[in-house]
């Protein structure tokens, strides 16, 4: 039933994005640091960030996860600079629409389109969401700190 669609789950784009691992690493003295777990598999992303007036200035992440999580983390890191709460909300909405099988209203992060096949595999959708949730959490935490 979901066989056909998810056959193409591991398209070249996802694999390459995962291997690119943009933003992988650490920040020496981050303003905030967050950790997100996927209880399904124990996958984990640790994200460190520097902020600037409610926007992200720099992020680095260590991601222990599947290709989907790693690809999403890489995309997220690519778009992190200058991101604010509205920006991550828009990206999350685009992702949720994609994962529900709908055509997103706005293509805020075009690369997210590579996750379209995940729409047919509900059990893996949290893998894709995890890195974006980490960004969202980091921004929320940043809002509560008095960073420059």
């Amino acid at each position: 039933m979901t066989g056909m669609a998810s056959n193409s789950l591991y398209n070249q784009a996802i694999i390459e994005e995962a291997k690119a691992a943009v933003g992988s690493g650490t920040i020496e003295t981050p303003h905030v640091s967050v950790r997100c777990d996927n209880p399904l598999c124990g996958d984990r992303i640790t994200l460190e960030a520097l902020g600037n007036n409610g926007h992200l200035a720099e992020v680095a992440h260590r991601t222990r996860g599947c290709l989907l999580t790693r690809a999403a983390a890489s995309i997220a890191a690519r778009h992190a600079r200058n991101l604010d709460t509205a920006g991550i909300e828009a990206a999350l909405q685009q992702l949720d629409e994609l994962l529900s099988g709908n055509k997103p209203l706005k293509e805020v992060w075009p690369e997210l389109a590579i996750f379209r096949p995940v729409a047919s595999v509900r059990s893996r959708q949290d893998c894709v969401r995890l890195p974006l949730q980490a960004l969202s959490l980091a921004l929320a935490k940043l809002g509560k700190t008095s960073n420059p």
Partner: protein
């Protein structure tokens, strides 16, 4: 109409002998939709839920969540994740008694009623003994309904929980939930509703009923044996500790200690009764599609015929409300000088299925000074032939056995 409905229940076509099933309060017959969901899952689509990623497992997890959503709609709840799957009402009431009393202090009070099923008594008694709580009970009036005038006198500043049945499994009496909800709110107590006998009689709207927690069984709403649900309001569900523990309800486990998943998973330890859960979802969908105005009026008509017929039968006394507004078609009666089990056996051998005994409601039996009653309980598949058979059979039983 019930002849069309009857076709949706495989058992009736399968019986070649006379078969008048009047024991639906003990267990309903399974509807075709539930049977198909059960069999379909168990024989051709089986995989464990919640953790697998291959297509069969993903599909099973999706079906499991869809069943949750169907049941949520049937009980008027918007967020399907507020529905917790259990193995039945009894398990659900144990869960609620355990988790809700975890927060109470010695001397706190729980208010039940005299008409409760043992499953809504004993778990509270055990919790009360463990935590030094006080259990009180709303008395029952002569007509089988709750003596709600007594409720103010029974409430105190220490009352934390009121737990009563929506519908008595002995007399069919329906509780005045809005008055109880109001009293609970005024007292700052949680209102737990035992909905085992409510769901077979049509969709409910828990928000309108005003309860904080609710338990019911699938097998009584024409689904498979082995599954049921608990609903609690979100705030409670997120606050309360787990009851059963093990696989699927944890976030992390180490030998030093463990942390728990958010609801509903926190309350669903181990492999769930997946087939029976899917069946319960299918039953809820099918039931929700029926014309309940018509079904209710038919149930009332049959109930009236049965009440009238029983009143006209020699030596026979009916328990419970005489009117039709505050009752369901669950009718207990006493035949002076004839033991309920002799009656049930005699009529059973003539194809009429009734239940005799204390119906797991000994305090109510005591209230009426009876050891046991005979009970006929109606469901949407019963018809005039069932009533005729019972009334005729009863006549001969009284003649022979008395």
């Amino acid at each position: 109409m019930s002849s069309t409905l009857k076709k949706a229940f495989p058992i009736f076509a399968s019986r070649t002998e006379r078969f008048h099933y009047l024991d639906s309060a003990a267990t309903g017959q399974i509807c075709a939709a539930a049977a198909a969901a059960l069999l379909g899952y168990e024989t051709t689509a089986r995989a464990n839920v919640k953790r697998g990623v291959y297509p069969l497992a993903d599909a099973a997890s999706n079906a499991f969540d869809a069943a949750r959503a169907s049941i949520a709609r049937y009980i008027g709840i918007d967020d399907a994740n507020e529905v917790i799957f259990t193995s039945g009402t009894t398990m659900g009431l144990n869960l609620l008694a355990h988790c809700l009393t975890a927060e109470l202090a010695p001397g706190d009070e729980i208010l039940l009623s005299e008409l409760e099923h043992h499953s809504n008594i004993v778990p509270w008694q055990i919790a009360a003994a463990r935590r030094s709580l006080i259990v009180r009970a709303i008395p029952v009036k002569k007509d089988g309904t709750l003596e709600l005038a007594a409720i103010e006198g029974l409430l105190s500043a220490r009352t934390r929980i009121i737990a009563v049945a929506h519908t008595s499994n002995v007399t069919g009496a329906i509780s005045d939930t809005s008055r109880i909800a109001e009293a609970a709110r005024a007292a700052g107590a949680y209102f737990v509703l035992d909905g085992a006998q409510a769901l077979p009689h049509g969709p409910v709207d828990l928000k309108r009923l005003g309860c904080d927690a609710f338990a019911a069984s699938g097998h009584k709403m024409f689904s498979a044996t082995g599954a049921g649900i608990v609903w609690m309001n979100k705030e409670l569900a997120h606050r309360l500790p787990p009851f059963l523990s093990g696989g699927e309800m944890i976030r992390t486990v180490s030998l030093k200690g463990s942390t728990y998943a958010p609801p509903p998973h926190r309350f669903e330890a181990g492999t769930p009764p997946i087939g029976a859960c899917l069946a319960m979802g299918a039953a809820a969908e099918w039931l929700a599609s029926l014309d309940w105005t018509a079904i209710e009026s038919e149930e009332r008509r049959l109930t009236r015929r049965l009440l009238d017929g029983l009143s006209a039968t020699a030596h026979t006394t009916v328990l419970g409300p005489a009117g039709f507004c505050h009752r369901r078609g669950i009718i207990s009666f006493d035949v002076d000088g004839v033991h309920p089990h002799d009656l049930c056996q005699f009529l059973g051998d003539r194809g009429i299925a009734l239940r005799g005994g204390h119906h797991c409601a000994q305090p109510l039996m005591e209230r009426f000074n009876l050891a046991a009653t005979t009970r006929a309980s109606l469901a949407l598949y019963n018809d005039d032939a069932d009533i005729d058979a019972l009334l005729e059979g009863l006549e001969s039983a009284v003649r022979l056995l008395r």
